[in-house]
């Protein structure tokens, strides 16, 4: 089982992806929001690239079934039901509903890897369950940090490193790490005693703190609070 990490959020060629499982990671905050919302009973989440696309798509579904979530510049989008803070997505609001989500980094990532064999959603919230799922599938694996506006993002790499830490414990000698996977694993070792510290080093983490969204950091740094591992398939994210 080869484990690789894509350090810049550029989708690899389809022929590379077609035999691989991918875990999309956007700790701050899209995949944390997705995992949280699905664990609170959201029926499905459709990640879209643009705000226009979100509004247009929402109109195609029966009234009352669909809600809009996401951000631009970390802020809630005018006319949307939710921003990009996991805590907003409470069961009373999202239970049984379809969500259309558009964010700066995370929702793009799903489209960048859409030709992969399997696409899972990972964050610290479900890291143990996501790693178990990868191990059970036994496929070569690409961890796909969503990055920060096209750049490398530290917290996503650290989360990827935590997935790898789990896989090493489970797979032992049968796991082969690329250089990027080794680096992510080593970066995780630096922050494993204090994940919040990675957010304080990262550009995106500091930006969220400056915008008064530090509470989201504490939420997103929680480890293994759910066993839900949502899957992106045919354009939507659901429980498999």
């Amino acid at each position: 089982m080869e484990v690789d990490v894509q350090f810049l959020p550029v989708g690899p060629p389809s022929e590379f992806l077609s035999n691989r499982a991918v875990v999309v990671i956007d700790v701050l905050r899209a995949t944390s929001v997705i995992i949280h919302a699905i664990s609170r009973g959201a029926m499905e989440i459709i990640p879209v690239i643009t705000v226009d696309e979100a509004f247009r798509l929402a109109k195609t579904f029966p009234a009352g079934t669909t809600l809009l979530g996401g951000e631009r510049g970390s802020r809630k989008i005018p006319g949307f039901d939710f921003g990009n803070s996991p805590g907003e997505y409470v069961a009373e609001k999202v239970g049984g509903k379809r969500l259309i989500l558009t964010t700066t980094n995370g929702t793009r990532a799903f489209h960048a890897v859409s030709s992969a064999r399997e696409i899972l959603v990972g964050s610290f919230l479900n890291v143990g369950a996501a790693a178990r799922r990868c191990f059970e599938m036994g496929k070569d694996l690409l961890l796909f940090p969503s990055g920060d506006e096209g750049n490398f993002s530290l917290e996503d790499a650290v989360c990827g490193g935590m997935v790898i830490d789990h896989l090493i414990r489970q797979a032992r000698d049968s796991i082969h790490l690329t250089d990027a996977a080794s680096a992510a694993y080593l970066l995780y070792q630096q922050f494993k005693q204090n994940l919040i510290e990675a957010f304080h080093v990262s550009h995106h983490g500091k930006d969220l703190i400056a915008k008064g969204l530090e509470e989201d950091l504490f939420y997103c740094a929680q480890v293994d609070i759910t066993d839900v591992v949502p899957v992106f398939k045919d354009g939507a994210i659901r429980i498999d």
Copy 2:
């Protein structure tokens, strides 16, 4: 002064590069070879992408002035004067000569960043001098690991982290690290007591050992054995 590291060897847009200094790093082995050969008296080194281009270009210079160096699959190219082992480039052979060099990763990197304001050549061999030169220039800096056949390469990132370690000591509060720069700095911290260990983790390092080229690793892991910081300008690498 912003310091960034490009974790995949893809040239950023010209508008990003035009105001920046870039340090190209290919520890194993192209930039180690270049620094070694220049420090042994080579007049200039012309990095080219293809073997055909190397042969064609060599014919345009007067007989006896120009030598060919480089590798494919880590092996010396048939008809070339040198492979890609720094130790081959002794003063008796390269002194006063022009070298045309073509390698899998390093020579491509120079062309990928050719629109940058200043392009320096870095490796462990000249890391302190390269960092001082960057600090004196005072420009925003992009460290450019040459990667491993298009992938992230651990040893180049670690060398980038060592440049950053020097810059932090010199520049203190006036230095701003991107997430990639912070990650490279942290990766360097993991290997600073034993740089050879990074080669033993890296795919490229392991491949060179398997091909009987372990001696090159010891050569390339030497720190600050020269103050030469070659510059790539107008298609050729020289002492500025």
